[in-house]
Subunit: 121 residues, 2 copies
């Protein structure tokens, strides 16, 4: 038996080259959680510029934006997922979970083929 | 209905940070096909140095090497997958196929949420 574990990182590559992967999914989840693009970016140790650039990519990926932001205003901005954004994030998480489950036996076998660390640490 | 398609790119990340992803899998498949690390690298538009470096990573990933190479010799070198290499490649392809199948409905929905291109092109 092996003590090793592994996880899958899933990238969905669309026919025009657009990509939805773990980084963008985590950014969406953190925007949902924090209500702020810059707070979400900070939580991922990402520059403000990079976070906004990814949001720009995300908002161009589907028929309507995934993230709605209010720059300035009474509360000094803030951002939230649109209904579409929440659906896309949920679908991505479902693909992740379904993949890990479907590949479970093969992943266990691959973990078992790694260097045996049971003797040491 | 949407004419869009998408595909999954799967990265298996092991607990110690080792990674088996689409690039290494394709390199293994091409070594199997061509019998040569440098020919496999060329087919992927990869430098000789990069191909050998990836083979080095692959050979350190599991309990034994995945690629066996004979530098020099009568036939001027050549490389092949070990039995373990062939098994690991097959397992990776199975994880890929199982994931795509398991996420089929969600991927179809995501494709359907993309920009409708049916009007032009």
């Amino acid at each position: 038996m092996s003590d090793h574990t592994s996880r899958l990182r899933i990238r969905i590559v669309f026919d025009d080259g657009g990509v939805l992967g773990p980084g963008k999914a985590d950014l969406l989840a953190l925007i949902q959680e924090t209500g702020s693009i810059s707070a979400a970016g900070r939580a991922m140790e990402m520059s403000y510029k990079r976070a906004w650039s990814l949001v720009g990519e995300l908002n161009a990926l589907f028929y309507a934006p995934l993230v709605e932001s209010a720059r300035g205003g009474a509360k000094g901005g803030g951002a939230m997922l649109t209904l579409l954004g929440a659906e896309v994030l949920a679908l991505y998480r479902q693909v992740e979970a379904a993949s890990a489950e479907a590949g479970h036996a093969e992943l266990a076998r691959l973990n078992g083929l790694r260097v045996d660390m049971s003797g040491g640490k």
